[in-house]
Amino acid sequence: MLLSGAQILVEELVRNGVKTVFGYPGGTVLDIYDELYKNAHRLEHVISAHEQGAAHAADGYARVSGRTGVVIATSGPGATNLVTGIANAYLDSVPLVAITGNVAVSLLGRDSFQEVDIVGITQPIVKHSYIIRDVAELEFVVSEAFKIAGSGRKGPVLIDIPKSAQRDKCEYHGGFGFSAAPVPEVPDLTKALEAVSRCRKPYIYCGGGVVAAGAGDEVLSLSKRLSAPIGLSMMGLTAIPNSYGLNLGMCGMHGKYAATVAQSEADLMIAVGVRFSDRATGNIAEYTKSCTVIHIDIDDAELGKNVPSMIDLCGDAKVILTRLNEALPPMRNEEWVARVTELKKRDEAPGDDSFTPANIIRAVRESAGGDTVVATDVGQHQMWVMQHYAFEKPGTLLTSGGLGTMGFGLGAAIGGCIARGREKTVLFTGDGCFGMNLNELATAVSQKTPVLIILINNGVLGMVRQWQTMFYSERYSSTTLRRKTDFVKLAEAFGAAGRAVYTMDELREVLNGGLPEDGPFLAECRIDMNEMVFPMIPPGGSVKEIKLSQEMMI
């Protein structure tokens, strides 16, 4: 069958199971958009307000659906606007296929209108990329791109399609099949089993790799078998239910007290699907001083990259954990369990009903239940969500971990909401982050996505300001915003509804008051600018330097 490149692209997207693509049209993708128009019945296109929003939406869609997200942008500025979104997906190992148009092959390399070398620009932040010089390459490339994005350690793949390759025709063969991935090999577990049998105080540290591998149940079995408490990286926060007794919550710079102290006291750490980011470990030498580390990861290059590893197990977390569970005898360790249970009490919340970030987040959780998808932006509000929102199910948290992208949240929430069939979704954001990509309110309205936006407004760039308070003698350089934005009117101007809330009672009124089912609602929560995130371990520090409150800062 003789098809144009644009037709082949659409056929291959559909064949690879894509239901929804996010994007923004433009001069060099007109042929693709013409095919999207004709194929709207089998491939939904969601237009964003800005390509960055579309990239974050595809990212959020991928994290919620577990399928590869797709974003389309035109050449030049359309393509460069994707860069932050692609980098975000790369750092968080999210499967994404980004499709960009480019000028016709005959015009490439001549600085033509809206021409950029997007393959070159994105090279350090993709798993792989292609430029289609000949339409005959496209059929194979689309399938291969999906295979690369969604296998092993997942990540973004870029396909740059010059306009000529969209218009040219070639024979379409009905798609390439790839042979099923080989059964993952299980590494030798002897040393790991020995280390476990010697340990007295085991600790499991789970990251995004556990969520990606769907290995939460295996982690729970291991924890029960070894009486091992579990600490989570931010990317791994939804790996196991918050309600599980030995779940100590997030580790790291703003991690829970119990998670940090238990880690420092453990004599064995079983780290699964983590990459030991500097924000998670602090001082590496102190971090691993007292424990043997067993590191399980699908990416061999992560083993030994940041933490000098002792026992490396490269492979699929679910498979390796299953084998470990089969091979290990149950170990009761009442003393260690009692110790971590005691530590966990320090993290319990005070029982007042003041209008604080922690109480706001808990109230939203209470009304939303454990199945709702929650997106965040980046900064103080993000850390408060990690600390106080009780996640119960994998894939219900959309947050920018590795890149720390302010402005990620709204796009991601829209993408996540669409992946769930436009179910109610929550976005926690701050006034700084929301200001970065609030244009996507237009998308949330036009797409009829019921995103409840909890805007925690402190009038400052809170996390940067917190560092200025703690490490720069309160010299608040450019973090006090002095803006006069009326966020409720802003929401209304976009065709959404909103309300400013000042008390917990008002917040509960909003939450229980019949939120719109076909569009976003913005609840602006004004909080004190001096609220800070605690616990905090200063950068490069260890458990010895942990600050639990403002009083400990001096």
């Binding site: 792989h128 430029i131 690369i148 061999d300 290059a301 030994g304 990259k305």
Partner: protein, 170 residues
Amino acid sequence: MSERFTIGLIVSNHFGVLNRIAGLYSKRGYNIDSLAVGVTEDPDISRMTIVSTGDEYIRSQVVKQLNKLHDVKLAVLLEEDKSLSVEHLLIKIKTNGDGNSGIAALVNEYGGKILDLGSNFLVADVTGRTERINEFIGKCVPLGILELCRSGNLALSVGTEKVLNINDFK
């Protein structure tokens, strides 16, 4: 301990591959001392030899990160005592009439060939291990080097272990 090490790679022969590999080195902050690339008996596959400097951590990371690139079929560390490594030098040296015989003897001593000979210059082609090439260049400096060009190291494993046969990657 920081030392020189050599990696042999089998890669796809498309445009952009060199860029991806060089980009990986610069992104991760590893240096490249030399890089040589050429097509194999299969026009779709190239073989590269990259020499860098680094400690055990860098050696292991470089190999693992290279093996993650889609266009890299295989990257292996070629240990110095288990590999053959040579470099190719083309050098244009000043001559002055009757002094030529000394230079010719030097080229001969290093197993080189004279490719071009003029009234006031000669071009020599010398192949050997990097240290030996360095030594030869050192001896040419006082004679007056007009220009030179080195290929970078080419390396193969000794014997039949770690053979990077392209038929294994098709």
